[in-house]
Symmetry: C2
Subunit: 176 residues, 2 copies
DNA sequence: TAGGCTCAACCAAGTGGTTGGTGGAGATGC
DNA sequence: GCATCTCCACCAACCACTTGGTTGAGCCTA
């Protein structure tokens, strides 16, 4: 019953109404309580659904440069095809400040992401793939910041990602 | 009466209650309506107050490198001293998706920011101050994305900004 | 007298959540 | 076959409470 996710994307958590969600699914709002005891449970389910969507980005190529490019390309495609997903992510980041349960879900999500990125960046260091050796931890945060910062502006994402790649990798080649 | 801002920072727009705001100021909630006809007006006032806070970042040094560093340093200090301000900004970005008035306010805000950044980056291009000539428009978006992406994670901002400077400026010197 | 602020009381429209009950599918016993 | 029982998804009605907003009257200063 995670069509509730759609509502969050549309009206945000602020406008999330159990009755509306129930109607979307075609059931009574009291029936909804049968599946999610409380509104908080629904929110949490949305959070976990949303973060799970990023699992598709799994492992990339072994080559660090191509792995980084693939990672960003994957995000870019998602950003293009499912912008609401990223909007909800912003919403969740914000909500995590007040809702410990959401905070924990998002922390898990980001820990995984951070791990993937760090691995790629460290591998690139080992292979001398970057313009210069990188501080893995900090660069990870930089990449995350860029992605997060671009979530609500999908139009600019493509160019920004390319620029970021340029800044990290030395190559100035244009890729498809 | 922009102590309402504090409430937004604390509970977000989702939890913003006119009665609570009024109580903070020590007046009745109906009196609040005397100053802000509608809740929307209050929200808009908060939006304009919040964006106005960034005016203090005005002009920087003439030298592009120092201007960029000063710009980021200024943001970093604000991020450190008034993290709520940035949290509210995120909240506003999100709200702008549904509220045209807020959207317009944020658009104005960002247009100004974009202008400042573009000017600095273009000046740096002219002076050959960067590691390599930059695409001004795209790099502007990149910097904006980084700043936006770091709004909810002030701890990482310092290192991330430094890394960004490193990537744009060629110098590898450590600054205070 | 007039005008700006203030409040108490009120209102309609929701809000999340609860309760008691209906009907159908599947298992069980005979 | 048939009655029974249990579980599950479901709903209508309801509840206590909150919300943004309105009204009318008082207060104070000019």
């Amino acid at each position: 019953m995670l069509a509730a996710f759609g509502r969050v994307a549309e009206v945000g958590f602020e406008g999330l109404r159990l009755r509306q969600v129930a109607e979307d699914v075609g059931i009574d709002h009291s029936t909804l309580h049968h599946h999610f005891a409380t509104k908080q449970d629904l929110v949490l389910a949305v959070a976990e659904y949303a973060t799970r969507q990023f699992w598709v980005l799994g492992e990339g190529p072994a080559d660090p440069v191509r792995a980084l490019r693939a990672h960003l390309a994957g995000l870019l495609r998602m950003l293009d095809e499912r912008p609401e997903l990223f909007a909800v992510t912003v919403e969740l980041d914000l909500r995590a400040r007040r809702d410990p349960a959401v905070a924990e879900a998002m922390a898990r999500h980001q820990a995984g992401w951070r791990e993937v990125l760090s691995a790629v960046l460290a591998a690139g260091n080992a292979a001398g793939a970057w313009r210069a050796p990188l501080d893995v931890a900090v660069t990870t945060e930089l990449v995350i910041a860029v992605v997060k910062g671009v979530r609500l502006a999908p139009e600019t994402a493509g160019a920004v990602f390319a620029q970021l790649e340029d800044a990290l990798i030395g190559t100035r080649g244009e890729q498809s």
